[in-house]
């Protein structure tokens, strides 16, 4: 499809609104993950967010509740479980416990979805490999509102997040253990919110890329501006590539994210 005429299509316009918001959220959250040294959490978040989404869509079959809200609550529960475990056992043991719990939940609830709904397999496919081109008109205000709310919270608390990440021991001393725990939980809750939000827009596989890739790109100067620009560039390029070459969005996103890692190295070498 010609990209210029494609931009006249409402479903493409909706997709670009959604990926613009997704890029802003992903850029800041991935930077928060890097500063808080929670890359392990971002890597492990994949199991948790697929589990959360599976529960969300399963519950929607029986109750009129938003699957995203249920997914978010399950995700917060799983990451909160990890946060509590981390204070009691080795970090690797805590991660393994989260991974195993998530895998059990994924298996049970995706089986349930496939059994109880004629569209179960499609739902599971969309959880994993969704695309921004499937965003509906009625979902656009929610996408914009939820993204803006996350951005506002992040910007308002950015300095505090940096101070906590800079010296956790000092932060724990000056704010007290309970406040320190709550601040850590807040960071986990933001990761959970971003993971569910990005999964809604791009599917879990691409959301996982967006949580990790932007802040780890090999820039000379890592800052919120460079990281958000990287995320925007990768997301837009992937959208155009999807339109022109009829590629799955996740595959195009992975390709351009990788290109963003390799190009600076090649340019520096030459």
């Amino acid at each position: 499809m010609d990209p210029i005429s494609a931009l006249q299509e409402p479903f493409v316009q909706r997709a670009f609104i959604a990926i613009t918001m997704a890029s802003l959220v992903a850029g800041l959250v991935s930077l928060m993950i890097r500063y808080s040294q929670l890359q392990f959490l971002a890597v492990e978040s994949f199991h948790a967010l697929v589990a959360a989404a599976a529960v969300g869509y399963f519950v929607e079959l029986f109750y009129p509740v938003s699957p995203e809200l249920v997914a978010y609550l399950v995700m917060v529960g799983l990451l909160g479980f990890l946060n509590v475990l981390e204070g009691r056992v080795e970090r690797l043991t805590a991660i393994a416990a989260l991974s195993l719990s998530s895998a059990t939940i994924i298996s049970l609830f995706s089986f349930g979805l496939a059994q109880k709904s004629p569209f179960g397999s499609t739902i599971i496919y969309n959880i994993l490999f969704g695309t921004p081109f499937l965003i509906l008109q009625r979902e656009v205000p929610y996408v914009v509102l939820a993204g803006s709310a996350m951005l506002l919270v992040l910007v308002a608390l950015w300095k505090r997040i940096l101070l906590l990440s800079f010296d956790p021991d000092y932060f724990a001393f000056i704010k007290g253990n309970n406040s320190f725990f709550l601040h850590r939980l807040f960071i986990y809750a933001m990761v959970a919110a971003a993971a569910v939000y990005l999964t809604k827009i791009t599917g879990a596989v691409a959301a996982h890329v967006l949580l990790i890739a932007p802040s780890l790109a090999p820039f000379r100067q890592v800052s919120p501006v460079t990281v958000v620009l990287y995320a925007l560039l990768v997301c837009y390029s992937a959208a155009f590539a999807s339109i022109i070459f009829n590629l799955p969005y996740g595959a195009a996103l992975g390709f351009f994210a990788l290109l963003g890692y390799l190009l600076p190295a090649v340019i520096r070498r030459s």
Partner: protein, 246 residues
Amino acid sequence: MMSLEARGLSVSYGGVKALEDVTFSLRHPSSLIIVGPNGAGKTTLLKALLGMVDYEGELRVFGLEPRRDSQKLRQLVSYLPQASSVNQIVPLKVRDIVYSPQELAGESREAAERAIEITDIGGLLERRFSELSGGEKQRVLIARALAKRAKMLLLDEPFSMVDVGGREQIAELLLEAQRREGITLVIVSHDLSYFLKREPYVVLLNRRLIAFGMAQEVLTFQNLAKTYGIAKVGEVYFAGEEHGPY
């Protein structure tokens, strides 16, 4: 007035004793150096004094029980954690770090300005922390500790990022801060030599209390041998005239 009183203090992590039956007391203002090998419980002792870990036994800091009165206690003490707890990829400017007690705990701006003056870091305020030398970084972290008005300053390895040449400067800075502010200094350090001229108290620790008292009385060959094991004693400076520096 007593600043610290510990009686039968013990701390365990998952059933393993990190500190066992430690008893000592300290007047205010004074200096205390906590010495011991790695894993001796030095940082754990500091964290117990700050109410950051659970403990058994009796512990009072300015008459307060650290676990129960942790909020009140935080108004009386300040803390410099180990440099290894600092995450240098976070792009904070020196100004953000020194004023963080104001941002996080509502401390006065004047306290931060006074700390900047004492530590002489006025020229570094707009620079990124990660761009500073080891000595400058440590001065910034000490300034942050001083920017919180306190009667006691607890420092965990204040020389860890500093080369030998800069250590004397840091020690002088701490002693000057103590003189000007009238505070009690509690310092975990492997390097006693810079503080000995002020006749500090010394705790020799190896999970259990080996000895406590004035440096000259405590730093004997026998005590150091008990603390470090015979092979390591030669690495530690002695204060007593009969021994001289080894």
